[in-house]
């Protein structure tokens, strides 16, 4: 499994070889970002909701110990078996032991970024267990032997003609048929058979309520529900940060989640699993895998507030034009770039640099994570600990000097624009990590700052 990991810049270059495709990817994601905006603007109290969600999550992170104990107690009273896993490996072992205990070799799984993080599928496959991902997008990438490229839209990088060909090969659909309606119907038939025969169903968890011990799972397809309700065993896997204190807080989070993710008012199904169905057994696996350690890191801890809506990816100019796989981590985009180095600094040292620090991610984040500030902080940590190449370092120390002194920022902007206009080769060179296979954008004649100053002057006011 240990492949040499290529860094984001190299992988992004590969993705950028096919320019029309990059444009298409970019536009598709921007379209989803716009849907998110429209949905958000319809809620007068949107900003208050974000603030409330952020505060609830802050409270959770500060009191996780107590909430987890409360959750465990409630869940046990509900007849659920609760497991604790310190790391990915232990999580995988626990899940496998449950499956083995029931003598099962074929299971269904609905979307769970945690199991991606833990590489559960690969592990189970090695133990002779066949895992079928039942979310359509996940099934597509699974058939193709790829990881998802987006946490909400796993096959956003696939074109329908390619999916048609994939289904032709794996599901026997007619060659050349690329109609989404038709292909979805084919997948429905194919996966129904799996639902009908699987005795174990794994799901992720969107929210776990300490007060009641219930777990809430949100899907549009109904695949989590169908899987669980037709199985004898339900295994729900969650990171320990998925806890929320009380049921009423779901009101806040369910209002934010789908609107932020896809612009829908809510997902089709928001299912509250509290007690197993008669005759069924239910397990919840609580996974740490670096989270408790991250909580100690003042600058980075609040990345754990994430509710995995994907909004920061859809809005990110780098993600949109480099594709999810260029991040070589289960969670791509801005949030992945601040989570991954926490797990393995060396392996993911390139990711915090895959950003323009424009701040758009932080602006759309429904739980108000300061993503772009953390990206910047990670760069400093990585440079200090010697995980960064000299080219990036030069760019970074320049950037650090610029960002810490707004006066220079203004001047260097003006100077930069002058250079871009008259000596572009100087900017479009290897020393600028953002110049690669892309022309630098056309230079605006004035920056906003200059325009603003001039405008104020014209209006007779002091700048």
């Amino acid at each position: 499994m240990e492949q040499k990991i290529q860094d984001h810049a190299i992988l992004a270059d590969k993705f950028n070889k096919d320019i029309p495709r990059v444009d298409w990817h970019d536009k598709t994601l921007w379209f989803i970002r716009e849907k998110r905006d429209k949905a958000a603007w319809q809620i007068a109290e949107w900003e208050e909701l974000r603030e409330a969600a952020s505060q609830v999550k802050n409270n959770v992170l500060d009191n996780l110990h107590d909430y987890l104990l409360e959750f465990e107690k409630q869940a046990q009273q509900n007849g659920v078996t609760v497991h604790w896993a310190a790391n990915a490996e232990e999580h995988n072992r626990i899940v496998h032991a449950i499956i083995k205990e029931h003598g099962v070799t074929d299971i269904v799984k609905s979307k769970s970024m945690l199991t991606e993080e833990c590489h559960l599928n690969e592990y189970l496959q090695q133990q002779g267990i066949t895992v079928v991902d039942t979310d359509l997008g996940e099934r597509i990438v699974q058939l193709a032997g790829e990881p998802p490229s987006h946490i909400v839209l796993p096959c956003i990088h696939w074109k329908k003609e390619e999916i048609g060909e994939l289904f032709h090969q794996h599901l026997g659909t007619p060659k050349g048929n690329a109609d989404p309606q038709f292909l979805t119907a084919a997948a429905r038939e194919h996966l129904r058979q799996r639902f009908m025969t699987s005795r174990v169903a794994i799901t992720g968890v969107n929210f776990a309520v300490a007060e009641t011990g219930e777990v809430v799972v949100c899907t549009n397809e109904g695949n989590a529900d169908l899987g669980v309700q037709l199985a004898e065993v339900h295994i729900a896997c969650m990171g320990i940060e998925k806890i929320i204190p009380q049921r009423k807080h779901l009101g806040i989070f369910l209002r934010l989640l789908a609107r932020s993710a896809t612009g829908q008012p809510v997902t089709t199904y928001s299912s509250h699993f509290r007690k197993p169905r008669p005759g069924q057994t239910m397990h919840i696996v609580l996974v740490d895998n670096g989270r408790s350690e991250r909580l100690q890191q003042e600058s980075f801890r609040n990345a754990l507030k994430c509710i995995r809506c994907g909004a920061c990816m859809n809005t990110c100019p780098v993600y949109r034009r480099s594709g999810g796989h260029s991040y070589h981590y289960a969670i791509a985009g801005p949030i992945g770039s601040i989570l991954a180095p926490g797990l393995d600094m060396k392996k993911h040292a390139d990711l915090p640099f895959a950003s323009t620090l424009c701040g758009s991610c932080s602006n759309v984040c429904p739980v108000k994570i300061n993503i772009h500030e953390q990206l910047y902080e990670w760069r400093q940590v990585l440079v200090k600990s010697g995980h960064v190449s000299p080219v990036k370092k030069a760019g970074i120390s320049g950037m650090a000097a610029v960002l810490s002194r707004p006066g220079i920022y203004k001047v260097s902007g003006a100077v930069g624009r002058w250079f871009m206009k008259y000596i572009p080769a100087l900017v479009n060179n290897k020393l600028n990590p953002w110049y690669k296979q892309r022309e630098m954008p056309a230079v605006p004649k004035q920056s906003f700052n200059e325009w603003y100053r001039q405008n104020r002057k014209q209006n007779g006011k002091q700048s």
Binding site: T28, F31, I43, E45, E48, A52, Q55, V56, N58, N59, L61, D62, N63, H65, L68, L69, N78, W84, A85, A86, L136, I140, L153, C155, P180, Q181, L183, T184, R188, L191, F195, M196, T212, N220, G222, N223, D225, L226, Q229, L230, I240, R247, K248, H249, L250, G251, I252, R255, Q264, P265, V266, T268, Y269, S271, F273, R274, R277, P278, D288, S292
Partner: protein, 194 residues
């Protein structure tokens, strides 16, 4: 249990002298307008159908018109025609159900969702395995927001409950919306005014 102790110990370290307090959940004022109209508008926007009726007979008539006599229809609403289910039946046997008729507790105007719990499902698999789903919601039970919804749910102890907002759907193939991913291909909500 070793990991449990280890994790809890790591978490018991004090992170801050000023732990963030739990904020009150504010009661946001409902948006203006009739919640039933809004529910209808939103639900149609996400692929659901709505039919306004003033009696259960009208619901029977509508279903009789839409489904052939051979269709397997299960109704958990006693006033609506359809077969009942026997307890403890294997849920896999519902695979050929064409329509299930259920009565949720309430609908939510802001997102077109309806809250239904396991005691009203007959079997928990039914709302998901059936090819089509119909819900009967009385117009006076439609709430404005999810905050009102959770206020109404309170601390009721339901083994399983779900919000359902429209038919099961996916847009995973090039963002083209397709109704009927794994669950019901259509959802009809009868808005019953009395």
């Amino acid at each position: 249990m070793e990991s449990r102790a280890k994790i809890l110990q790591a978490l018991s370290k004090k992170f801050t002298d000023h732990p963030a307090p739990l904020p009150d959940v504010k009661a946001f004022p409902p948006t203006a307008g009739d919640p039933v109209d809004k529910f209808e508008f939103i639900l149609r926007g996400i692929g659901g159908r709505t039919v306004r009726v003033s009696s259960y007979t009208e619901i029977d008539e509508y279903i009789a018109k839409e489904y052939t006599s051979g269709a397997r229809i299960i109704s958990l609403v006693k006033e609506v025609a359809g077969s009942a289910i026997t307890p403890d039946i294997d849920p896999h046997t519902f695979e050929n159900v064409d329509l299930v008729v259920l009565q949720p507790h309430f609908g939510v105007a802001e997102n077109g969702a309806a809250w239904i719990t396991s005691d009203r499902m007959g079997d928990r698999a039914l709302p998901f395995i059936s090819q089509h789903i119909a819900l009967v919601i009385t117009t006076d039970s439609i709430l404005h927001t999810m905050h009102e919804a959770y206020e109404q749910i309170g601390n009721a102890d339901h083994p399983f409950g779900t919000f359902i907002a429209g038919p099961s759907k996916t847009a995973d193939i090039e963002q083209s919306l397709v109704l009927g991913a794994h669950g019901p291909k259509s959802m009809t909500v009868f808005l019953l005014s009395r």
